[in-house]
């Protein structure tokens, strides 16, 4: 509950930050633009290289990556008993940090509620968002965000207490529903109930913790959000067997990392770290065996791990062994999945569509060439 109020305060501060241009990057960028336009006029030719990322410069100068994650979504981003950030989204940012610095720990995680995440990214509070965020048209265009790809194909689900006696979402007519504000969830919910001629009473909450509390107190009959997060939340409840995630999935929620518009090279870096993790799984490169590929005949692996002659990563301003470090940090995509969401994690989510295309899923990376 206090989170809601704090988010509001943060939102206003971020807005002030945008208005007063307190963001170092924009200031420097505008200076850069003035300088480069002068250069254009004076010299008749632009003199900057194509592979330059202002955000990357900032990150390097700062010495760590600022990664926006959720305030607590089991499996995606939580803090474990020893105070360490763990989760599927967390591991992606660690891989990115490892690619840049060679050190997966060179990242600072910023917990953001659904409501403030985009403003925080726009204001430069974080360099990248990896916060179970759905890729949608309006976020891409109107909200001026650049999505780097999909790291989890999700869909919206509903969780109920078993003793409610409900087995399908179509039996939820008249129910009270807990939702988090500022999400695609609340929009899908409105559409789904309308399409099916059902009514409901929304109970808006600020974050997962509050939704969960209201749901457990019985203030709402059902809690709806991304099915992956529901599964993660359920296994962490006191008696997981008393709760049921209904079989219907009412929407497409392709989740992925994103950056703000305007720094294409930074977007490229984030996108290709994600792709590298996916390719590593296709190729069977794991955290454990990553050092044993030196003699492989597969040229793509050499390009990926930087063991060949070409240094293609210099184009985006990364070291030659950047992807090696990224994969070494937490393993390939499949390993990260298993550790945070799959059997090893206790959440037991099946790979399903999120399996590599080589294994019947739809996870498919463009070639590393």
């Amino acid at each position: 509950m206090f989170n809601a109020v704090f988010s509001q305060i943060i939102l206003v501060l971020l807005l002030i930050k945008i208005i007063f241009n307190l963001k170092g990057e924009i200031m420097r960028k505008s200076l850069f633009m003035v300088l480069s336009s002068i250069l254009l006029i004076v010299g008749g030719q632009a003199a900057f290289s194509g592979g330059h990322s202002v955000t990357l410069d900032d990150v390097k100068a700062r010495g760590n990556l600022l990664c926006g994650v959720s305030t607590g979504a089991p499996g995606f981003a939580t803090i474990d008993d020893s105070g360490k950030d763990v989760g599927f989204d967390v591991d992606y940012c660690r891989a990115l940090a490892a690619a840049i610095f060679g050190d997966p720990m060179a990242v600072k995680f910023v917990g953001l509620t659904s409501a403030v995440r985009f403003t925080a990214l726009a204001a430069g509070e974080v360099d990248i968002l990896a916060r179970n965020t759905t890729w949608t048209y309006s976020r891409d265009t109107d909200l001026k965000q650049t999505f780097l790809g999909v790291n989890y194909y999700d869909g919206q689900g509903f969780m109920v207490k078993k003793d409610l006696g409900v087995n399908s979402t179509l039996e939820l007519d008249g129910a009270t529903v807990c939702i988090q504000v500022g999400t695609t969830t609340e929009l899908n919910l409105a559409d789904y109930f309308k399409e099916n001629g059902m009514s409901y009473e929304p109970v808006p909450t600020a974050d997962n913790a509050e939704s969960q509390q209201q749901y457990l107190a019985g203030a709402c009959d059902t809690y709806t959000t991304d099915a992956s997060a529901l599964h993660g939340t359920r296994v962490n409840l006191e008696n997981p067997d008393d709760h049921l995630v209904l079989p219907e999935i009412i929407s497409k929620e392709p989740l992925g990392p994103l950056v703000r518009h305007g720094d294409d090279n930074w977007a490229d870096i984030g996108r290709w770290v994600l792709n590298a993790l996916i390719i590593a799984e296709e190729k069977g490169i794991t955290k454990a065996n990553i050092d044993s590929w030196k003699d492989t005949k597969d040229a793509e692996i050499h390009r990926l791990l930087g063991t060949g002659d070409d240094d293609i990563l210099a184009m985006v301003g990364l070291p030659k062994n950047a992807m090696y470090n990224a994969i070494k940090a937490g393993g390939n995509y499949g390993e990260i999945f298993e550790n945070n969401l799959g059997a090893t994690s206790g959440i037991n989510i099946e790979r399903g569509v999120n399996a590599s295309w080589t294994k019947g899923g739809i996870l498919y990376s463009p070639p590393f060439r």
Partner: protein, 405 residues
């Protein structure tokens, strides 16, 4: 011989604008104004530039687009197909509702507590001090959250009312249901003929006002006060009640009943609304109580004693001598407390109450990414309400000043 020089008229020098007291006031004002305008334009320009750098523009078109989300408490018809503008309006009405109901109860409670705090009974006075200090010194946000937690954690779910031997039962002859989703009251249904009842009621009230005025006039002329209290009450109640039965009970009550997951029909006061209104009313009432006490204490004791020596009884002294004068002192700070309550109502977000902050400044802002525009509109709304309320104070001050004869 002495040549008389013409009176020396000092020629105007630019420096005089600042050094000469005749001009200084005006020139300082002009300078301040210029600086203010410059800063203002710099701010606007800077904002637009920075938004442009982020690839954003300033546009209020989103107010006319489909909102796409649902709102639980609606005082006017609204669906997810309505526009963001309408969603904002639904929120505004919800804000005004909390403000209005909150101010109403805060005033009644505050008056009551303030007067009781002056009681000669030691225990009563102490209890009221504890009330005031307790509510005044804890942040209102904590009260809101605490009351909300109490309302949701310690009340039964609608399910508990089910079955042959339910765990929970409705109150007052099965008419009120207190649940962890809110409290359901019977709703009045106005059938045919209700209009005549309303008419008769208004007429009765008018008659009573007329009688009161007549009695006041009598008192001024003859010094005798007429016993109007009971007569007024009878006039207000009897004709309307008689008509009610005569027409055949046109107003009936619609009772809430359990159907499916929730109670249906009746008036549903959500816990978010109850917690917010209650907390704001309790918190503000503590301030109002102090204002009332100060107002009463400000009237010199001599007046009470003078009135007593004329043979007036204590409640007459309070009503005729003290309160009319105290009100002059009480009302302005009272209204500014109304203002505070209204602004504090934006803490609604802590319990998910859909006020204007929750719709326009919350969901709409998030879904459209129009942070600046939404915040500007929001500030504009609160500013308008504040200006409106303070103009009421000014009007009051002007019309109730002590006229020095």
């Amino acid at each position: 011989m002495k040549a008389s020089a013409p009176p020396k008229t000092e020629s105007f020098k630019l420096s005089m604008l600042l050094s000469d007291t005749r001009y200084r006031g005006t020139s300082l004002q002009v300078i301040t104004f210029i600086i203010f305008v410059a800063v203002f334009f710099w701010l606007v320009d800077n904002t637009l530039k920075n938004l442009a750098l982020l690839g954003k523009d300033v546009s209020f078109n989103f107010l006319f687009l489909r909102a796409g989300y649902d709102i639980n408490q609606r005082l006017i018809p609204y669906t997810s197909d309505s526009t963001h503008g309408r969603a904002a309006f639904v929120g505004i009405l919800n804000t005004l509702l909390v403000a209005f109901v909150g101010c109403f109860f805060a005033t009644i409670l505050g008056l009551f507590v303030g007067i009781l705090r002056l009681s000669k009974n030691w225990l009563v006075a102490k209890l009221m001090s504890i009330y005031i200090e307790g509510f005044r010194n804890v942040p209102v946000l904590l009260w809101i959250v605490m009351i909300f937690a109490l309302l949701t954690e310690f009340t039964p779910a609608p399910k508990a009312f089910k079955g042959a031997d339910p765990q929970a039962t409705m109150l007052l002859f099965d008419s009120i249901a207190v649940t962890n989703r809110g409290t359901y009251f019977p709703a009045p249904i106005f059938g045919e003929g209700s209009f005549w009842l309303l008419l008769s009621f208004i007429l009765s009230v008018l008659i009573v006002i007329f009688i009161k005025q007549y009695a006041n006039k009598q008192k001024k002329e003859t010094g005798k006060s007429l016993p109007t209290f009971w007569i007024s009450i009878l006039i207000i109640i009897l004709p309307t009640l008689g008509l009610y039965f005569l027409i055949g009970k046109p107003i009936s009550l619609e009772y809430p009943y359990l159907k499916g997951f929730n109670f249906k029909d009746g008036i549903h006061l959500r816990n978010s609304f109850l917690a917010l209104t209650l907390a704001l009313a309790l918190y503000t009432s503590a301030f109002i109580a102090e204002i009332v006490r100060a107002g009463i204490l400000a009237i010199s004791k001599g007046q009470t004693e003078a009135a007593a020596s004329l043979g007036l009884r204590p409640n007459k002294i309070m009503n005729l001598i003290i309160l009319p004068q105290a009100l002059r002192i009480i009302v302005p700070p009272l209204i500014s407390n109304y203002l505070n309550l209204t602004k504090n109502s934006s803490l609604a977000i802590a319990v998910g109450y859909m006020d204007v902050r929750g719709t326009l400044g919350g969901i709409t802002l998030n879904q459209t990414g129009r942070e600046l525009e939404s915040m500007l509109l929001l500030m504009g709304f609160y500013l308008c309400v504040s200006l409106l309320i303070s103009s009421v104070i000014n009007y009051y001050n002007r019309s109730f000043q002590i006229v020095v004869r």
